[in-house]
């Protein structure tokens, strides 16, 4: 062990008795742009003041080559988080259910911090560590700490000073200013990472916390044609229901995720030969059809322009709920609860679309 270099890193034994001193020293170090290693309820974390761009660069050189992987933030509470990310309903639910705790919630970044902390898609991971010392330091700092495991990329996350010294190169050790030694931490796995910017929460890394998953089937569509074929297959699965109930395809997904492509596929399956353009402007388009010995209307409803979801009732949704009719509704979020109330009057197939890449879409469906 080359103690000459190591001597730059101060190791501070932490106990309840010296809590105030540990916090004061940590704040002094962080305020000068220093890099500290601090205990959490999972492993030791490498922390710098996330709002200090020079310190952020220092942290990135400590972590080493890691592509464009983002760096999560540790905050003291939801209010602090709300200054850096936009917390949607899904995220809000996770904050209230699981935090503080070993869960990193990925939300859309408000881009107030260095972009090198964000994922390429403009998102930022946030966690609230369930560790009193870490929380106290963040609270006192008044700003987030970076929350990345205190290991060089590709190496084992450390649970003790010994782990840390063993797995970290001398060059990298020299970048660390302060080690808050809380002894050997319990061997808890790293936090679960959940992306909440998609339609349903997507687990990016599984840790101790298990997010209850919706039932359903997931497929990846590689093209618009594939999305259309999937619509056709799904329709034929439920076709026989049409004789006594209407079918509702409830479509959820961002702009350009393939919702209209899906409806084009439904129209094809119903033998409707006309073009199916977007109904955004007129809100509803209707296409009478007659095939498989059934006649009815395909209603293509788009709620994007509606202020309130229940406006679809004024647009005649109730009258559409007749056996033989197929109703495809885009922008489901607005009408989700309304649709649920129809579950005895109609067969509802819930479908969500998410961008995987420029040409691929993940489609999840469930009846």
């Amino acid at each position: 062990m080359a103690s000459g270099i190591l001597s730059q890193m101060k190791i501070l034994k932490c106990s309840d008795a010296n809590r105030a001193k540990v916090i004061a020293e940590s704040i002094a170090c962080l305020s000068k742009g220093g890099l500290i290693v601090y205990p959490t309820e999972t492993c030791y974390g490498a922390g710098v003041d996330a709002a200090n761009r020079t310190a952020t660069l220092k942290l990135l050189s400590f972590k080493g080559q890691r592509g464009s992987k983002p760096i999560a933030l540790a905050v003291s509470d939801r209010t602090m988080a709300s200054h850096y990310v936009s917390i949607n309903a899904t995220a809000d639910h996770l904050y209230r259910t699981f935090l503080p705790g070993p869960l990193t919630v990925v939300s859309r970044s408000l881009a107030t911090l260095s972009p090198s902390l964000e994922a390429g898609t403009g998102t930022l991971g946030i966690r609230i560590p369930a560790h009193p010392l870490a929380l106290a330091i963040i609270k006192r700092l008044g700003r987030p700490l970076t929350a990345t495991s205190a290991n060089t990329s590709g190496k084992k996350p450390p649970y003790s000073v010994k782990d840390f010294e063993q797995y970290t190169s001398q060059k990298r050790l020299a970048l660390v200013d302060l080690f808050l030694d809380a002894g050997t931490l319990p061997p808890n796995p790293p936090s679960t990472v959940v992306d909440t910017t998609l339609n349903e929460p997507a687990v990016l890394r599984q840790g101790e916390i298990v997010i209850p998953k919706h039932k359903g089937t997931t497929v990846v569509s590689g093209s618009q044609e594939e999305t259309q074929r999937l619509a056709g297959r799904l329709f034929s699965t439920y076709r026989k229901e049409l004789s006594h109930k209407p079918l509702i395809f409830a479509l959820q997904g961002e702009l350009g995720a393939g919702k209209t492509q899906f409806v084009k596929g439904l129209a094809k399956a119903l033998g409707i030969r006309t073009n199916i353009p977007s109904p955004t402007f007129v809100l509803i388009k209707e296409y009478p059809y007659s095939c498989f010995g059934i006649s009815g209307t395909l209603y293509h409803v788009d709620t994007w322009r509606l202020e309130k979801g229940d406006e679809v009732m004024d647009l005649g949704l109730g009258a559409m709920l007749r056996p033989g009719n197929v109703i495809a509704i885009e922008w489901l979020q607005k009408v989700k609860s309304l649709l649920r109330s129809f579950s005895d009057k109609a067969v509802i197939i819930w479908i969500s679309f998410a961008h995987v890449s420029e040409s691929e879409r993940e489609i999840r469906y469930q009846a």
Partner: protein, 355 residues
């Protein structure tokens, strides 16, 4: 037919409640529910839903159009009633049609059923009260090629004579106006932000490269969903909040690509069908870059390009319906069985399969 023929026209095809009085192809009044003076008269801002459902606004709109005409005093004074029967939002169309039927029966007036897109096409034929307009001193020279661009439609139509239309191409997915509004939303400009993009673009430099949306070269159809997705990906990679400079330049880049895509197909249609006049119609033609590019192409082919005399004739309005109805009345195109007249939300130009 009378040489001075007055029509009370009604349009409730989608968001706007509108009523107008026309005298032949002259517009005497054109009351549109979203317009400022209408609000002033009928008290405050109209709730979104009410505006959309038209019920509360239809009678005020008709009364306003009669008063502003300064020519007819009551429905009893007009020669005919005209109403849009499609394309549009079915429950909205129903309200206008029901009102028109009721007036037609009550005042014993002939009823004329109008295609909303046909009326966008003929909006360039409209003259103002004093007889001024693009066709004031110009005869119609067929075939006429029209590019109709609005929130709900993007169409290239060939007019071979009165009432003779061929749909040459249309959008396969999103309408041009819708693409403007959706990209505006992505730029955090709110809804409907299409006109804000046009406004910002005036000051911007089209520095960002976006793919020009094209449907296979032979076709005259349009497609804008690919461009919408390309914008989404491009904007996801940008730092938020967007700087003003970025927003302005991106707006200019987007607008340029949209104009390019529209004019590309317009050019193709000119080369294939050799029209003698070019018309523009629909709300999106208030975009100056689009008008400039279209004018350039028309000039290159030695053709006149005509647009309606007023912006109030670009977006949805009843005056164009009245003008269209006058041309229909001249060829005897009246509703024969008023009781059986129904909305036709998918009404097309005759040769498409939506009918």
């Amino acid at each position: 037919m009378k040489t001075r023929y007055t029509i009370l026209a009604i349009d409730t095809s989608c968001d706007e409640t509108s009523a107008a009085v026309t005298l032949n192809n002259r517009v005497l009044s054109n009351a549109i529910s979203s317009q400022v003076e209408f609000h002033r008269e009928y008290g405050g801002v109209v709730p979104f839903l009410a505006k959309r459902m038209h019920e509360q606004l239809i009678t005020p709109a008709i009364l306003t159009s009669l008063a502003q005409s300064r020519f007819v005093k009551s429905v009893g004074d007009v020669d005919a009633i005209a109403v849009t029967v499609g394309p549009g939002l079915a429950p909205a169309l129903e309200i206008g049609i029901a009102k028109a039927k009721q007036l037609s029966l009550e005042f014993q007036k002939p009823l004329i059923a109008v295609n909303h897109m046909e009326s966008h096409l003929v909006s360039s034929f409209a003259l103002n009260r004093n007889g001024n307009g693009p066709f004031a001193n110009t005869p119609l020279l067929f075939p006429i090629l029209a590019l109709l661009v609005s929130g709900g439609h993007t169409q290239l139509v060939l007019m071979n004579g009165p009432g003779q239309y061929i749909l040459l191409g249309e959008t396969l997915d999103d309408a041009a106006g819708e693409a403007f509004d959706k990209v505006a939303k992505m730029l955090d400009l709110g809804y409907p932000g299409g006109s804000i993009i046009s406004e910002l673009a005036k000051k911007g430099q089209p520095n960002y490269r976006l793919p020009v949306p094209m449907v296979q070269s032979g076709s005259l159809n349009f497609s804008f969903s690919g461009l919408k997705t390309a914008c989404l990906y491009f904007l996801q990679k940008q730092k938020r909040p967007f700087s003003r400079r970025f927003t302005i330049d991106f707006a200019a880049s987007f607008e340029r690509v949209m104009a390019k895509a529209l004019v590309l197909k317009l050019t193709k249609a000119i080369e294939q069908y050799h029209p003698r006049q070019i018309l523009l119609g629909g709300g999106v033609i208030s975009n100056l870059t689009l008008r400039k590019e279209a004018r350039k192409i028309a000039k290159r082919h030695g053709l006149p390009l005509l647009v309606p005399y007023s912006k109030r004739l670009f977006t949805d309005n009843a005056a164009m319906v009245g003008v269209c109805a006058w041309y229909q009345a001249k060829r005897g195109d009246f509703v024969k069985d008023i009781a059986r007249l129904e909305r036709q939300p998918n009404l097309g130009f005759g040769n498409d399969e939506n009918l």
